[in-house]
């Protein structure tokens, strides 16, 4: 059993810095590279891709990335864990094997974790007693069952632990919690027991800090952000985990950014609810027990973390079609930039009304004035040099949304003056994908862990 491992975060979401995981591998010693690719909306996008082509449905950045890091990782024994398998981890594994073959990397073992995709088994799960009511509204799933695009269970760390025990160098999962990706190697390397809730919570807290990439190392930091050096090469966080449950958050010395109690505190507070009850499939972590200490430059020590037993439920994330939306912008310049934008908005709304179009919502925002802070803004309107008028519509009638897209550009020649910024073409109607969070009894779904053989 090891006493210490270094787990590096390589990606905070699908679309994050492409070079970040490469830098984590090349700029210093690490034992694990963990990458979160899945946001709530991502699963529905991947499911649509798989519907069109059964070989797709995973983050295609992964095989691309493997071309750059696989030889180095294999040589140094760095294991890779990612949930970028999306709705097709098996195809993702095969694509990675193909890269390995091209590069001449031999003896690679890739495991997948699936069984999280319950889209095709909703009816039988309901028959077995699952509820799947909306966690927020309490509404029964019957309301959206026919419109579902995706339905995935959030598994935790233990299926990944099983994959590591089977000797995997790379673990590719479907919907796994972001925190599970980081907790899993600690359980595996230190032999932590499932019922040691304080240790489960310690690894979960480390996972929460790593899951948004550079948001823990100075990115999006609202403290003294101007003092942060070398944002260009910002280092993503590394969790130096000890078998006792202590964790030090740090980064590679040669990369930019900072790791302080303040940057780590901001990330700890990101997207949390009741801090005493941070619920994952692995435990319930108490964020009010976390003790942070600045243990050196760019080193923050986490200790004292307490946890309580996991709940008998997994979270389920479903998505469904919920109409169409479009967004258009026009920019008006001084003098009276805001007055011009307001007048244009009222003309546009009048025209949409006269056309008898159906909208669930028309939202107007004035970028450069109050789009972010709304009624909190108090400024001298005359001083505003330019304003971007942003109008967004949502409707279950596709024609109305498309027609809105054709009514924006005419404002340039048929409305207030000093207007520009219509180079992007007509706003297009895009699908609105709504999200349905639910719970399911753990006993009703089983994670599947398998080693995929190289062909």
């Amino acid at each position: 059993m090891k006493e210490k491992i270094r787990i590096a975060s390589g990606q905070g979401f699908w679309g994050d810095l492409i070079d970040a995981p490469v830098n984590q591998v090349m700029h210093g010693q690490i034992d694990y590279l963990v990458m979160d690719y899945l946001a709530e909306v991502t699963m529905s996008i991947l499911q649509k891709q798989k519907n069109k082509n059964p070989e797709l449905g995973y983050a295609r950045d992964i095989p691309e990335l493997m071309k750059r890091i696989l030889p180095e990782c294999k040589q140094k024994g760095i294991k890779i864990i990612t949930n970028g398998g999306g709705v097709n981890p098996v195809s993702c594994a095969k694509a990675c094997y193909k890269v390995a073959k091209e590069l001449g990397v031999k003896g690679l073992k890739i495991a997948v974790v699936h069984g999280d995709n319950i889209l095709d088994s909703i009816d039988s799960l309901l028959q077995q007693g699952a509820q799947l009511n909306n966690m927020e509204s309490g509404e029964p799933i019957a309301a959206v069952k026919e419109k579902l695009l995706s339905a995935n269970v959030y598994f935790g760390a233990f299926p990944i632990v099983e994959a590591l025990r089977k000797g995997a160098d790379i673990v590719i999962t479907g919907r796994t919690t972001d925190t599970g990706l980081t907790l899993a190697p600690m359980i595996y390397e230190f032999g932590w027991k499932e019922s040691d809730w304080n240790l489960m919570a310690a690894g979960t807290v480390a996972g929460h800090i790593l899951e948004c990439g550079a948001q823990a190392t100075g990115g999006n930091f609202l403290g003294d952000w101007e003092s942060i050096e070398n944002f260009e090469d910002i280092g993503f966080p590394i969790a130096e985990a000890f078998s006792t449950g202590e964790v030090v958050i740090t980064k590679h010395e040669t990369l930019g950014g900072i790791v302080t109690v303040e940057t780590v505190s901001e990330q700890l507070l990101y997207e949390i609810g009741d801090p005493k009850n941070y619920i994952t499939p692995d435990c319930v972590a108490d964020f009010t027990s976390i003790h942070l200490t600045q243990a050196g430059e760019n080193r923050v020590e986490i200790s004292g973390v307490k946890g309580t037993p996991a709940t008998p439920f997994y979270k389920v994330s479903c998505s469904y079609d919920d109409g169409y939306s479009a967004v258009g912008t026009l920019t008006y310049s001084w003098p009276k930039a805001l007055a011009k934008a307001k007048k244009a908005d009222s003309i546009l709304r009048g025209r949409l009304r006269n056309l008898g179009l159906q909208f669930d919502e028309i939202r107007t925002e004035f970028v450069g004035y109050n789009a972010c802070h709304g009624p909190l803004v108090k400024v001298d309107e005359e001083a505003l040099s330019e304003i971007m008028l942003r109008v967004a519509v949502r409707s279950h009638d596709r024609n109305s949304v498309e027609r809105f897209g054709r009514e924006l550009a005419p404002l340039i020649l048929t409305g207030p003056p000093s207007v520009t910024g219509f180079a992007g073409g007509r706003p297009k109607a895009s699908d609105v994908v709504a999200y349905w969070p639910a719970l399911i009894e753990k006993s009703l779904v089983k994670p599947l862990v398998e080693i995929i053989e190289q062909v």
């Binding site: 505190s265 901001e266 801090p275 009010t288 919920d322 970028v367 802070h373």
Partner: protein, 120 residues
């Protein structure tokens, strides 16, 4: 009573949880946290975000991080994937709360400023 601005002694981070936004408000010092904890109530936050937060405001204390966490319900225009807002995920709520000012008792103000000469 004395007036203090949040921007002078806290930092913050916000994000989305469905149609709710969460905003964590962190004092730079222990003394700052004492002020936050005494004066930054859920009611004051609700009133401050009038017209933005259309639901209730919940408040949680994290003295270990010198922080308070607020959940602002019904704030994001239907939530991340459905919302037509520019800031559909509530990312800028953290900077919005820095606009807040608190009226504090002279005694608390003295403790906050005198015993903390480094405080900016």
């Amino acid at each position: 009573m004395k007036k203090i601005k949040l921007i002078d002694f806290v930092h913050a981070r916000s994000g989305d949880k469905g149609d709710a936004a969460n905003v964590g408000v962190i004092a730079f010092t222990n003394k700052g946290y004492d002020l936050l904890n005494k004066y930054l109530t859920a009611d004051k936050v609700k009133v401050f975000f009038d017209g933005i937060c259309l639901g209730k405001v919940e408040r949680y204390e994290l003295p270990n991080l010198n922080a308070l966490n607020f959940i602002l319900h019904n704030t994001l225009g239907g939530g991340g994937t459905v919302s037509t807002k520019l800031d559909a995920q509530g990312k800028t709520i953290a900077s919005a709360i820095l606009r807040m000012e608190l009226q504090v008792e002279e005694e608390d103000y003295k403790i906050f400023t005198n015993q903390d000469p480094e405080q900016k």
